[in-house]
Structure formats: C-alpha cells, structure tokens
Amino acid sequence: MYPGLGVRRHLEVRAGVYRDSVSLMQASRRIGAEPGVRSALVAMATELNIELLVGMGFHAPAGASANDMVVAVEADGEEQLAGAVATLDELLAQRRIDGEGQAFPDPLPRTIRAAAAGATLALISTPGQYAAADAFEALDAGLDVMLFSDNVPVGPEIALKRAAAIRGRLVMGPDCGTAVLGGVGLGFANVVRPGPIGLVAASGTGAQQLMCLFDAAGLGISHCLGVGGRDLSEEVGGRSTLAALDLLASDAATERVVVVSKPPAPAVADAVRARIADLDLPIDLALLGPGRPTLTDVAERVVRAAGRRWTAPRQWSAPAIRQRRPGALRGLFSGGTLCAEAGFVVSERLGAVRSNIASDAASALPDDLRSDGHLVIDFGDDVLTRGRPHPMIDNTLRVDRILDEGSDPACAVLLVDVVLGHGAHPNPAAELAPALATARENAARGDRDLAVVVSLTGTAADPQGLDRQVAALQAAGASIHLSNADAARTAADLVAG
C-alpha cells in the first residue's frame, strides 16, 4: 500500500454564503467525523481561516473574502468526498426560516431595528471587530444590550457606554458571558433560585460561581447584571457598573448587592465607593486578587449577612488520590475568573505559577502555553478564542491538552473546571471524563498516579444534570468540588512537599 494513494481533495468557495463560526465549526466536526474523511474545514474565508486551509495543504483560493464560505475536504476516495459534501449541504439547509407556511414568508430580519418592536434587550455575539457597531444599532433601536462578544477594542466600548448613558440604556459587556434578568439566564447562566441578592459582575464565571454557591446555601438571585471585564478600568471608568448599581438600588426584588470584579483602578474605586455611599442598599465588594478573600469566602460572608446558615460547599472525594506526590500542577480552565482564582490560591501554597493570564511578565506563559512547572491556563482568553468557539461550548482544546498532560512525566495533578448551565456544552463530562480517564491510564503506564481535581460550577437544576456530571467525572477518577477555591487548594495540597 502506498499512503496517499486514492486520497481525494475538494476545495470550493461559496461566494456570499454566510453562517456563524460556531455553526461552521460544528459542521466541520460533523463532516470530519464522516467515514473516510481525513480532514475538513468549512469556514468563512477570513485571513485566519485561509491560514488554516493552507496549513491543511490546500492552496489559498484567489479572491475569497470574509463574506465567502470556503469548503475544503480531504477524503480517502471520490465517494467519501461526495458523501461529505452532501452532508454539508444537508447541514447548511437545516437553517431555521421563520414564517414558513405563510403565503409570503418573511425572510429573517437583517437588522436589529427590524426586529426591535416589543423587544427589550439585544443579545449580541457577533465577531469582535463588528460587534460594537451591532451594539450601537441595538441602542439606536432603544434596546438594552448584552454584548457577549470578546475582542471588542476599548475605544468603541467607551463610545458605546457613553451613548448608552445618554439614551438611558445599559450595556452589559463587551465580553459579558453571564447575566440573569428576573430568572432568565443570558449567555452562560446557571439555573438558580429567585431571591434577594443582586449581582454586578465584571466577571462572568466569578458571578456563576457565586450564584451557584448562594443557590447551594438556599440563597437566591434577583438579577445578575454583567458589565464586562474592562468596565472598572480607568479608561472605561465603571460606567456600566454605576448604571447597574442604580438599577438594582431601585429594584424591588433586590435587598443586597455583590459587585464581583478584579480590583478596580483607584479613581474608579473611589467613584464606585461614593455611589455605594449614596445608595440605601447593603453592597459587598468581591474584589478578586492575590491575598484577597476567595469567591467562596465572599459567598460565606454574604450568606451569613443575609441571615442564612452557611455550610461548606459540597465535594466528592476520590479515595485513590489522597496521598501527596511530587511534580507539577496543571490547571486547565474554561472560566477566566476561576482560572485566576485558582492561580492565586495555588501560588500561595506552591509559589511560582505560570499562566497565560498572568498580570506580571515573569509569570507569563510563552505562546506555546508550555512550561515545566506549575501552570494554569485560561482557554477562554481572547487570544485563544479568536476564530473558534468558547471552551465552555467546545472542549476540543482542553481534551487535547488533558491527553498531552497524561503523557508528560512532570505532571502530577490536573485541575480542571467544568461549568454547567444554559449556553454551555450540553454534556461536558461526556467529553472531559473519557479524556481524564485516558490521561490517568497513560500516566499509570509510566508508573505515575495522576491526580485529577475538578472544580464544578453548577446547580442541581442545570440542564446538564449535576448528578450525572458528577457521576461521570467520579468514574474517571476525579475528586469534585463545588467551590473553585477548595478545588485549587486540594490540588495544590496534593503536590505540596
């Protein structure tokens, strides 16, 4: 047999055909999994995707732009190739068309304005370079905005928030992953009970962790208003945070407020404190950083202040991995704040921890995200989500890295977060647990006992099923903690000399 004999390739540009990147990633994966297909890429012909195409060994198609779809398939034979293209056509044809069956069916609206009558909020998740314009369109149509998109430059963010203030609207974001409005979860949101606590969140997964810990302690949420990770920076000046505080202060359902954020710029911190002093409402600041209280500490403080009983967050231990072992801790996260918090907790115990989201250059991971020592990686960082879905939706990158760590003799403990809730992957444990089990098996073959610690952010009411996720992860040999700080501490203790 000659390798490569019979290999057939198909490259096609579909001019002017557009689908969002998540749909196309899913289509690429579906086709790539067809029998006899070696590789497949269905994507908009952006510069990045053309690079990917060239990387697959195809020639860059001349004249294709970001408005054109490119289809590239490599298969074992003509038949398999044709099958893959037929599957793609079927997938693309499955697009929803509103008003089917009417005499003159309306096409889907192309603008927010055309759909805005009676609406209150625009949820925008378009690519970052265009998303601010889309948010402006929503403000012009009189809507509040949740701007899920990341990679939005700061200049447009400021312009947007200034315009929102003039129009009396709230801009949640950019890079706002989570919001809850009167029980409705937007973006990544856990199913939590209603209650008196209002959240103002510059951090999506920070807010998710707090809400889940509150929920487990029987304390419910009125609203969670996201503001975007940069809102409390000096440039943006906390515009959305201040607006969100005002909204919650005049909301009948809200009795206490928690602001969760990185420590703000000093001038902004003063402005926020001044506003808090003006408002007749108890407001806790959960400012995350090294040496500061963890999210779990904040949750405990708030639960007690609200007059509820606090019990330590639940955990499911893995008996096999209690003893300490020498080696490195490797934290692989989908949640940015969960990653940062784990980094602070671990470095308090183990010293230097390198990370792709480290604020100091000395702790920064190189671009290949490799290091011999302890490390924590946020796979949801802007740089790693360019051109691909968020790791809470798509586990591919983390599964690959889990398998790599299983074969790395230096790796002693894997620390992994799993975030449940609306918007997240429908069954993350189904993909992560087998990878964790395989990593442990591979390590065992090298005479290593690889410990796995999972930080699980979720509630019993989440659509993925908390129990089902726990069971699958336990079966893979992981210990599981509803408190992210506990998970990080447990993982650190396992390698601490």
Binding site: N67, L121, L123, E137
Partner: protein
C-alpha cells in the same frame, strides 16, 4: 432597563445563545447577521452624536416635501441653458468616458439645436470639447436614461411648497427609438421638434389654465393602482391625463388636440418624467444636513453610478455602473445592453420603483421575478431606510408606507443594496431601448460615502 419585566430578546450572532433562551421559553427573535461591507468606519459614524437627529430631520424634510406641477417651459428659460450647453444624467463625465447611449443622445441634441448638420460633425465637435457638459442634478433637474437636456427642449417645472424647492425634467418621448436611449435618427429629431413646437405649448396652456397640478397626490394614487413609479407609470399617466384633459380641450388648437392627447395616452411612461422631479424635490429637501447619512441622490451616466449624501454636500461617490438583469426586447440580449444609465433612480431614492415592488405585482415578471420576490424586496428595503412615507402607502403590506431615506450606514452594515428597477439602453450609440430589468448600485459608492462620513464625524473615542 426595566428589571421588573421579563426580557424579550433580539439575538444576533451565534445560534446556541438564542437556543439557550428558547430552552427557557423566553421570546427570542433571531437576526440574519452577515459581516458588513466595511467594518472600520461604521463605529465612528454610528457614534456620531449628530447622526440620529440629523437623519430624523432628513426624513421629516422628505416626508413634508410636496410636488406641484406649476409650468412647462423651454429649458433656455427655465434653466437658463444656452445653445451648446447640455445637461446629462448621472455624475459628471467627459465625452471620452461617455457610453454609447449618452454619446448618441448628445449627438441627437446637437442636431436638434441645429448646431451641426450631421452626426459626424457633432461627434467631432463633442470630442474636441467644444460643448459644455454638466449633470442635470447640478441644476436641480433630472433626466431619464441619457438624461440629455438642451436649450430648446421643454421641461416640466415642479415646486415644493413646504420646502421652497424647484425641480425640472424634460417631457417623455415614448418608448423604442428615442433620444434618451441614445437614438438620433431623423424620426427621433423630428419627434423632439414636434414636442418643442406642439406638445410643450399645448400642455403649458392646459397647466396654466388648470392651475398647479398636485403630482404627489397622483403618485400616492398610482402606487395603489399597481404602478411602482419607475418601470410602470400607466396609472399615473392616465390620472394626469384625466386631470388635464378638460383644460387641454379648452385651450388646445383643434388641429393639434388629437395628436397631443394620443401622444400622452399612448405612452405608458409619460408620467415617469413627473415622478422624477417630484423625487428630486423630495430628496433635495433632505440635502445638506450635517451628520446625516441619508442618500439624497442615486444617478448613473452609463459609465459611473454615483450617489450623494445629505451630510456630505455636493460630493459624488462613484463606482462602475452595472449591467441590469432582466428581459430583452426582440432579439436583443445581454451583450447588447449598456451599463445602468439615467437619473431615474431618483425614484428609488425617494422610496418608489424597486422599493415598492410589492405594490406592482403586474410587472414582476417583466423584471424577472415572482410576487413573493417583490414583497421580499420591498420588505428588505425597510432594513436600509430610516423611515416610511405614509403618503405613499402599500395596500398589500396593510398600507405600510414606502421605505424612505436610504441610510448609507445601514447599507454598509447589512450589505443589502438598494433595488433599482430600470430600462436598458443599447450600448451602441443610436440603438435605443433593448430591455428592462433590475440592477443594484456598486457597493463601493456606499463604502466610500461611509468613509467620508467617518472623516467628518467627531472622534468618538476621546475622553469626556
């Protein structure tokens, strides 16, 4: 934000986030998002604090504009045109770059004015640069197809009582071999002479006896009678005739009355030349508003397609005119067609023509479509316009007003281009009309205009 009410969400972007809302039984409407034609200038223009109010002002001016036919006179009087001065359709152009139909029409106009004795002499004079060429739009005039107006031609004079504007348009010659399609044979010239000596004076006498004719009101009626005001003007023409016929009978010479009435009644497009100046009045009312991104002119000279924008003064933003798609007369085919030509896209600029295709189901096949296509076309034009004109309401859309005031920002943002219904001229000078169909402007006109709006906008990213 009202925290006490359940959110009703419009979702733009990845489907899974909308799916997650649907799974919570929350009302969610999805937007069919596409990448914009150009991303960088958009945010600057959207952030321009003047834009919304400026566009509202532009729309209000357009909606308020009236169109009264007040007189019919020679262009020498009405426009001060001298022999040897010629107006033409579209943005400015030289003889060297002029297309076949424009060249043919200019040759014909030289012959009509008696400046030359033959077509070769006319061509020589034109190529030597001995004549003055200027866009109709620069003089408050509009001309269909080649749009050539010379000093002896008679023009309609329309007045906008609300905004004080005046606009002009020559009289329509009919279909087939006519000057505006680039034909200049002796019969064409002879017809133009008759229009100057018989038709014009007869109509003038009738209009003067009748008093100002409310053209806007006739347009409102024609749109409800199956005309879209660009490729179908049959109802409008008959309504005009009904209005003027008694006065024509009263004032015309007995020996010319029959010929005049027959000429108007047999030309389904006679009223186009009144829709167009009404459009010019409506769109010029919105011109010159700082910060406004509303299109006030779309016009083609057979080589370039040009637009003008309210907030950008007299500047033209041009791209290559496209060849329309549609049906051809006789044995003509796509190879015979000249690129898009004429000021008649003022119809779409005012919200008629392709924008109200939904109201003209009788001609959808003529321009190569189906009735559902026509309705979809009109609905998609609402996506790129700032408002609706209640004066021109569409029965089939439950009397929704015509989509009005094309917004450069919306065009670039959505990539939805204005839909224009148009006639097609033969590309060889002297041919005449070869067909009719649909055409869109080149996207670059709008991209350039947006860049200029961004340059003119205050820096949105400075602190404060």
């Amino acid at each position: 934000m009202d925290l006490s009410a359940e959110p009703r969400v419009v979702a733009m972007g990845v489907d899974i986030l909308a799916d997650a809302l649907a799974a919570q039984a929350v009302e969610v409407r999805r937007i069919d998002w596409r990448p914009p034609l150009d991303g960088d200038a958009l945010i600057r223009v959207l952030a321009d604090p003047r834009r919304r109010a400026a566009n509202e002002q532009a729309l209000a001016a357009m909606l308020s504009a009236g169109a009264m036919l007040v007189d019919i006179r020679p262009a020498s009087e009405a426009l001060g045109l001298k022999p040897g001065e010629f107006l033409h359709a579209g943005p400015p152009i030289s003889w060297e770059r002029a297309s076949g139909p424009l060249r043919g029409a200019l040759i014909g106009a030289m012959l009509l004015e008696g400046l030359v004795t033959g077509s070769e002499e006319a061509e020589a004079a034109l190529s030597a640069g001995h004549v003055e060429l200027e866009p109709c739009h620069h003089r408050g005039a509009v001309g269909p197809m080649a749009g050539v107006i010379s000093s002896s031609m008679w023009v309609f004079e329309l007045h906008d009582p609300a905004n004080g504007g005046t606009a002009f348009c020559p009289l329509n010659e009919g279909l087939g071999k006519v000057l505006r399609y680039g034909a200049y044979s002796p019969d064409v010239i002879e017809r133009l002479r008759w229009m100057n000596t018989v038709l014009g004076p007869a109509l003038r006498a009738a209009v003067r006896q009748h008093g100002p004719v409310d053209v806007k009101s006739i347009i409102a009626q024609m749109v409800q009678m199956g005309d879209e005001g660009h490729n179908r003007n049959r109802a409008g023409t008959l309504l005009l005739l009904r209005e003027l016929l008694p006065d024509l009978v009263d004032t015309a010479l007995a020996e010319t009355l029959g010929a005049v009435v027959r000429f108007v009644a047999s030309n389904d497009h006679f009223f186009l030349n009144l829709v167009m100046p009404a459009g010019k009045l409506q769109t010029s009312a919105a011109a010159g508003i700082e910060g406004s991104s509303v299109v006030t002119t779309m016009a083609r000279n057979g080589t370039d397609f040009g637009i003008q924008v309210s907030g950008l003064g007299e500047r033209w933003f041009t791209g290559s005119a496209q060849v329309p798609e549609g049906l051809f007369l006789g044995t003509y085919g796509p190879d015979d067609a000249n690129p898009d030509i004429g000021d008649s896209a003022i119809a779409e600029t005012m919200g008629l023509g392709g924008f109200v295709m939904a109201s003209a189901p009788a001609i959808v096949q003529f321009v190569g479509g189906s009735v559902p296509d026509a309705i979809r076309t009109t609905k998609s034009m609402y996506e790129i316009t700032v408002g609706e004109n209640p004066a021109f309401s569409l029965p089939i859309l439950d009397f929704r007003g015509a989509p009005t005031g094309i917004d450069v920002v919306a065009v670039v943002k959505t990539g939805v281009l204005p839909q224009i219904n148009t006639g097609m001229a033969g590309k060889v000078a002297g041919t005449g009309q070869v067909g009719a169909g649909l055409v869109k402007p080149p996207a670059e006109c709008f991209v350039q205009a947006l860049a200029a709006l961004a340059e003119a906008a205050p820096d949105p990213f400075v602190a404060g």
